[in-house]
Structures are given as C-alpha cells and as structure tokens.
Subunit: 346 residues, 2 copies
Amino acid sequence: MHKFVRNLITEWRRLGLPTENAAVVVGVSGGADSVSLLLALCDLKRRGKHDLRLVAAHFNHELRGSESDADQEFVRELTVTHKIEFATESAGKLPAGNVEQNARQARYGFLTRTARNVEAVAVVTGHTVNDQAETFLMNLLRGSGPAGLAGMKPVRVLSAESGVRNSGSDGAESSQEGQELLPFAASPLLVRPLLTWAKRIDTEGYCVDSGVEYRYDTMNEDTAYRRVRIRKILLPLLEDFNPNIVETLAQTAGLMQGLPSDNAPPDRRDEAELAIKDLMETGGSELSNRIRCWLASRRGNTRALGLKHIQAIERLVLSKRSGREVELPGGAKVVKKGGKLVFRQK
Amino acid sequence: MHKFVRNLITEWRRLGLPTENAAVVVGVSGGADSVSLLLALCDLKRRGKHDLRLVAAHFNHELRGSESDADQEFVRELTVTHKIEFATESAGKLPAGNVEQNARQARYGFLTRTARNVEAVAVVTGHTVNDQAETFLMNLLRGSGPAGLAGMKPVRVLSAESGVRNSGSDGAESSQEGQELLPFAASPLLVRPLLTWAKRIDTEGYCVDSGVEYRYDTMNEDTAYRRVRIRKILLPLLEDFNPNIVETLAQTAGLMQGLPSDNAPPDRRDEAELAIKDLMETGGSELSNRIRCWLASRRGNTRALGLKHIQAIERLVLSKRSGREVELPGGAKVVKKGGKLVFRQK
C-alpha cells in the first residue's frame, strides 16, 4: 500500500469516520490535492478497507472560460476511468463582489446539496497542511484573533448555521452559506482528512506515483490574490527563519484547536470540552457522529470504542443531571460538568 | 501634559500599580523606549501624579566596547540632570553560548538585585508594542505554541521561578535566571507599562518633543540577530498585507492572554481566571499586588476599588471553601470555583 494511502486510512480511523453503510461526497477540483484524495479513497475501497459509497463532485466556477470547462471534463473522465459516481454543476452568473468568497459560497452550496441528494454523512475535501498554514497566516494578518488562529478544523458540521457561526474562525469557509440550506440536524459533516498530515508535495507525489495526471489552476499564480501572495512571497521568506514553517504554522493552528499533537503539552489534552448546548441542537446519527469524532480526536484513535460507549455518552448529554461520567476502554473517561462534556485521560 | 505622559499614567492606573509608599526600578538602556519611560515617570512625579521613589538602573553589557561605556555614561548624566537615583553594573566576562540570552540573563539578574536592594515593588521596562509584535513573531516562527503567542505580559512576577516557568511563553525573558535569587514571595513584579499602547515612534517622538537625546544601539542593525531580521525584513513585508501589522500582532498577543481589548469578543472577558494554587505560593504584599493587577486588568480600571475588596479576595484565596464570592463596586464579582478565582462582569 502506498504510504499516502496508509496515512489516509489511519487519519480516517483517528477521526472516527464511518467505513460502511454510508455515502461520502468528495469535492474534486481536478488539482493534485483533491485528485489524490479521490484516488486514495478508491484504492482503499478496492482493498476492502471501507465500503463507502463514493460520489465525486466537481463545481465549475466558469471563472477561467475554456480552462474551467477542461477541468470539469478532466474530472468527469477520471471518474469514468475509476468507475466513480460523478456530480457536477456550473456556476452560472455569480453575484458581484468578492470573487473568491462568492465562488467558495457557490461551491459549498453545491457540495452541501449533493451530500443531501445522496444522503451522505460527509463532504470530504483535499485541504492540506499547506492550506492550513496559509489559512493561519491569512487570519493572522487580518487580525482575526485566537479563533482565527485555530485555522480549519479537520471535522466540522457543514450547514447554513455553521457557515455563519464560523465567520472568521474557519478561513476557507468564512462566508455565509445561505438560507436555502436545511436545518442543522440534517447537515452533513465537512471532513478534511489530509489537513493534519499531507503536504502539497505528498499529494503531487501520490498522483505521480499512481501515473495519474492532475490539473493546475492558473489562478494559483495570480498574485492579485492574497492567498497566492502568502504562498509565493511570504512563506518562502518565513522559510529562511524556519525551514519547517508550513508544518510549524499548521501545528500551531492544531494546538489552538486543542487537538492532540506530539508538540502539545500533556495538560492541553485534558482541556478539550464539548458544549452540551451545541450537542442538544443535533440529534440522531448526527449526535453520535459528533461524539465519535470528538472521542477519536481526544484519544487519538477509536480502539475498543463500541456503540455502547457512544450511547452511554448520548444519554449523558440528554440527561438533566450534572457530575455524571462514562468510563472508556483504556481508562479515560467523559464527565458531564458545567454544561460541558469533559474528556479526562487516565 | 504630553499625550505620552497622559497615556502612561492611564496605563499605570489600569494595571493597578501603586502611586505612593513604594520604590520602582526603571531599567534604562539609553535607547528611546527606556529614556522616554524614565522621563515620563519623572514628569508625572513633578506633577504630583505619583510619589514613588524612582531608581534608574543601567546594565553595561560591555559587548560593544567604548560604545557600551558611552551608553552607561549617557544614562548616568541623564540621571544627574534629572536628579534621579542611579544604579549601574558592568557585565564582566559573560559565559560562552547564546550571546543575547546570556546578556538578558545577566541584565535581569542585575535588575532583580537592584530591586531587592531598594525594596522596590517592581522593575519597569520600556518594552513597546513593537517589541510585543516582534516577540510574537519570534515565538510563532520557532513554533512555541499558544503560550508563546501570548507574548510578553504587562505584569508578571520577576523571580527565579517565573524565569524558569515562562520558558518559551515570554520571549524576552525565556532564560533561567539562576538559583541565586530569593524565593518567590520576595520577588518584585516586572511591569511593562508601554507594552500595550506605545509604539517605537511614540517613544522617539516624546524624547524629541522633550528635547532629550537618546542612544542608538548599533546591534539593532545587525541582521545576524533573528530579532533584527524580523524587524528589518519580515515586518516591512507583512505591512504590505496589513499596514497596521504591528498593532494587529500585539493585539493578538493580548487576546491570547485573555486581556480585555476592544477587539475581544465580550465573552472572553469573563474567561479570565487566576489559579488559587499559584496565588497560595505568594504571600503578603505580593499576593495583594497580584490580585490588584488582575482586577485592574479585568475591569480596565481600579475605580472605587478599595483595600477592603482586595482583603476580601485574599480571604477568599486562603479559605478552604469553594463557591464563595466577593462583590465589587460596579456590580462585577470574583468567584472562587474549581481551584480558581473567576472574574464575572455584571
């Protein structure tokens, strides 16, 4: 198995994502990041590592004329070759204003609709460690404060609500995603399974090793965009100070989320909490999904974690009493306290 | 009154610092930052805004030969002209290793000894908003995590203990300050009353307006030092992205400390807590100093705050019972809860 594929399934399990009886929508632009993600998910399916229904989804922004159409055609052919379901849509006329923001809004609207159409548990995207570092710097430079420095999260709920709430705190999706979306409980997750470990060089490397072409977006060279200037001008200068600056910034964002990390002081692992209030707004499989993702990211794995543990924590959430706790395999426990679920290591 | 002087007394009060019956040691290198601080404190004393005993302290690092001696002589003459007590010491031979770090360690050792000699409540230094922005970037680039992104604090305890503890979290004093220092409770505060509002241009401007010369350290031009490269190369590039980048980075550091700020979301103000465990290690005037500084920074002022409130909170700290609270003038209160003092706005 290619190292990239092995890393992907490891992260998929760490995030507590389902491996059967579910559909996922893969956002595919045609670039190396999303193409490598799609190919690796296909490879894992062929190997029997999961049995998820995969739906590749491409949004044609129509911002670069024939180049945009060629991207769309490229992704279509890729899905035909690999026998993957394909959903696509073209932007039509976007509203005037911030081009990047409107494009992102339209793209996420499409991905969310597609996820609902196929009843997917998640939209997965190919954001990498490099994207995280760039988002961190974007937010730092605009002064968006501690919330912005947490960057993008590997798992969050994709909904009108979270689109609004996350304004500023999640650089890549800071736009309001519109009122046409379904209410919270019906919303799929947005999952970025490459975010914490894959660099752009890894996604390109996996495509090359797989003998698969990928498209290159000429807008990635246009220094009229802040993000491009950060990538092309600022990051190379920062590398003079720290050759691993991309990893360092992405790790810093991870630490700001209270994520476990080899660099995190041990006591930070115990701080992470889930607000009951937020959990109460979700329900059913949504609620258990969120609890599983949270537990997985706290523990760093899902070993020996069964349905009964998830259900016990669900009862904890719904119960009116405080001070209760659920013991987990391995000795950690989840305590309900002060309106929050608190994860405690052994 | 010069705007610089007015801003200084406002910050002095906000930090809840004493204005009588106390001595303070002012660290003076001879540069614009420390000279402006010393001059403004003298001006405030002449105007009857405080009656503190001021002691200017200069450490001659002897790193730049006759230039270093000229700095020392310059500060000596300044204190003669302004009739200020003067303490000075020369480095002698510094241990091999990191020049900046050893120099800083020797300087803070001298400042701490001087403060103890005159029984000062605090050492005050001229660190500015620019220094804070540079420290933030130093720590970010070296990957020191959320604690490092909090940068320098306007008030902290100056002691062997805090020197060790703050490793990484307080860029300018991350060194171990040695075992020769007295225990925690006897240690003065380190106060940086320019840190949150004065830029380098303000300190230089105040010196010029006052007709007072200041020294210029040629090491500030030596790009062999990371801090100089950050100032001379990185920050000008970041200004292309955000013309107010220095203020933005310093504000971000402030937000990371949970300091009140116009940019902070309101609920952050309520988060700030003091760990009882840390407070218990202090005692006497040290304890009341820390409580006053904390309250002042929480409330943004010390209006109507009397000795009885401080004493009531001291009793709260020393009491074995939890859940108790002290009401403050204006409706805010301090609650003892979960091993912490929690500040609650009305």
